[in-house]
Symmetry: C2
Subunit: 192 residues, 2 copies
């Protein structure tokens, strides 16, 4: 959910450099976490010169912000399973996968957001965009006549997704996929 597919990005050398650099940031984050992320390591892995990195992205936080922004303009949308419950279960399974992959890029991003306001602002914008897109599961359910037309989409999405984030990120405890499914069901039932 965090990182979009940049392979198909059009453009020439500049776009290719960005794509290589962001792929290197993602790999470094996944392997070493936020604390191990350095401009030098990104330069070595991407084959892009350190000077270029400093000129264009300035800091490690700048690289993270760009990684989030690249993720935000991809074509992600929630799976259409035919029911609100099924759609919310699918959403939670994506989040569950993103949070439980070890090491998790999502977790690294969240850690970064508590270090620099640039990363925090970028993460806020990113999540606003993702929750707005995910609201499609609610409008589809309204269109099917499954739930009332005045259903509060954000409330439903929070009910489904927040327990998973809270348990893993703030309480720092595991949550099984079954438990994540259960919170999706509670959210769907809350508006039926």
């Amino acid at each position: 959910m965090i990182a979009g597919d940049r392979a198909s990005r059009p453009g020439g050398r500049t776009a290719r450099v960005r794509s290589d650099v962001l792929a290197a940031v993602e790999s470094e984050l996944a392997e070493h976490g936020y604390d191990g992320l350095t401009i030098g390591a990104v330069a070595a892995r991407s084959g892009v010169h350190r000077t270029t990195l400093y000129r264009r992205w300035k800091t490690v936080a700048g690289l993270l912000v760009d990684l989030l922004e690249a993720g935000a303009d991809d074509s992600w949308e929630p799976a259409d399973t035919g029911s609100l419950e099924g759609d919310l279960i699918a959403v939670n399974r994506e989040i569950h996968a993103a949070l439980t992959t070890r090491p998790s890029i999502t977790q690294a991003m969240i850690a970064a957001s508590f270090r620099t306001t640039d990363a925090a602002d970028a993460l806020t914008r990113f999540w606003e965009d993702r929750y707005a897109r995910t609201a499609l599961v609610v409008s589809r359910a309204v269109a099917r006549g499954e739930i009332p037309s005045d259903t509060d989409a954000h409330q439903v999405l929070l009910t489904a997704t927040a327990p998973l984030y809270h348990q893993v990120i703030l309480l720092r405890q595991p949550m099984s996929r079954d438990q994540a499914d259960r919170h999706a069901r509670i959210a769907a039932a809350s508006v039926r």
Copy 2:
């Protein structure tokens, strides 16, 4: 919910020093946040010598860990309103107040937990203790015959409280007290 009442702590000079120091940490955090918290400022505010602080608490993280541990052994328990829904609303209102007070000590603690593993471990232990105590709202409801005896207490508490933490801490958006009440109601309804 984070900081217990240490005024009544028994003991002599050592206990008084700890009490003064932790009160100073709390005030400094509230005024300047985690980034503004220094041993020097805590020394100045508490009137306890810097050398004593370094000897006993070593670092700013050490002070935070002790603040959390002091909070954990207080006598907090959830309000008894006579119904699961009422109890969960009361719990969420306490969390809401702790998160929306500006500046929020809870928010500073969470930020600190993403900087040092000592603070993260201390926060994890603190929350485990608080969620275990809050499970009383579920066992009271079971004893009243309001909900089934095999109700998953942690699931109910997550359903009620996680949306509030997620919205304010990770999504960095406001949540009204009415919305917090609504999530408490959804949690109560999910097990009836």
